[in-house]
């Protein structure tokens, strides 16, 4: 009888909850990010100088870092749940999961590096 329902023994409750928590945080951070970066930085009015200046106030990198983490987590966890919907084989699942994890780690590294660099770079 159980052939019709494969218990995966994988709970989804934590992922589900975190997806929602990260969404709420993102909602705020993303709007902030868009306003500060995309709206206020339009036109040729932004110079390298200005960007660096802002990037070096104490709160800015913190917010950027929070945004980076939540967005990566939320996005990749989202992709994972999409992939899970369409793959039932264990091997494929493992492949996808490792892939997403790698992407996540690499981007986290690159992103963090960017934030730190922007913070520490001296304008020339």
């Amino acid at each position: 009888m159980d052939k019709n329902f494969k218990q995966t023994s994988r709970s989804g409750s934590l992922g589900w909850l975190l997806q929602r928590i990260s969404a709420v945080i993102l909602f705020i951070l993303l709007l902030f990010h868009f306003i500060t970066y995309h709206f206020l930085t339009t036109g040729r009015s932004v110079s390298y100088q200005q960007v660096l200046e802002r990037a070096q106030s104490w709160w800015f990198p913190l917010l950027q870092f929070a945004f980076l983490i939540t967005a990566l987590y939320h996005g990749l966890n989202g992709v994972w749940s999409v992939l899970e919907d369409y793959t039932s084989s264990k091997t494929w699942r493992l492949v996808w999961y490792s892939l997403l994890l790698t992407v996540g780690v690499v981007l986290l590294f690159v992103g963090t590096l960017t934030i730190i660099k922007l913070y520490t770079l001296k304008a020339v």
């Binding site: 929602r20 969404a23 709420v24 993102l26 909602f27 993303l30 709007l31 868009f34 995309h38 709206f39 339009t42 036109g43 040729r44 009015s45 932004v46 390298y48 960007v51 980076l68 967005a71 990566l72 996005g75 990749l76 989202g78 992709v79 999409v82 369409y86 992407v103 981007l107 690159v110 992103g111 590096l113 960017t114 660099k117 922007l118 770079l121 020339v124």
Partner: protein, 124 residues
């Protein structure tokens, strides 16, 4: 026995719910794809003023501005529909999901128009 539906049944009459879901999913995937690129590109900002200016010029081109307007729309849809999902999950949103959808999407549309204006005002 014959299995007809393998992936998605496009002949099924699609209600608000299922279109919203497909779009939300596609938007989410588009966003994470964009985020990956974004992190990569921003990283180049740290390679000195010359690169910064090259990138910035590209980012300020009308073509890119138009892409950004689209991105803003995708973000708003995903974000506001995401809020709808969360209201459904935790605050009995199912009981008025269609009204919720209309209201939130209307709000998103207003923000989209405003944002688009901000993005485009210096572009051309």
């Amino acid at each position: 026995m014959y299995k007809r539906t393998r992936f998605y049944d496009f002949t099924y009459y699609n209600f608000v719910g299922s279109w919203a879901w497909i779009l939300h999913r596609l938007a989410g995937l588009a966003l994470i794809f964009y985020l990956c690129l974004h992190i990569w590109v921003i990283n180049s900002l740290t390679h000195g003023e010359k690169t910064f200016n090259d990138v910035m010029t590209f980012l300020s081109s009308p073509l890119f501005k138009l892409l950004e307007v689209g991105l803003w729309g995708v973000i708003l849809f995903h974000a506001f529909n995401g809020v709808r999902i969360i209201i459904v999950d935790f605050f009995k949103g199912s009981l008025a999901q269609k009204k919720l959808f209309t209201a939130l999407i209307a709000a998103a549309f207003v923000l989209w128009a405003l944002g688009s204006y901000m993005l485009l005002r210096h572009a051309f």
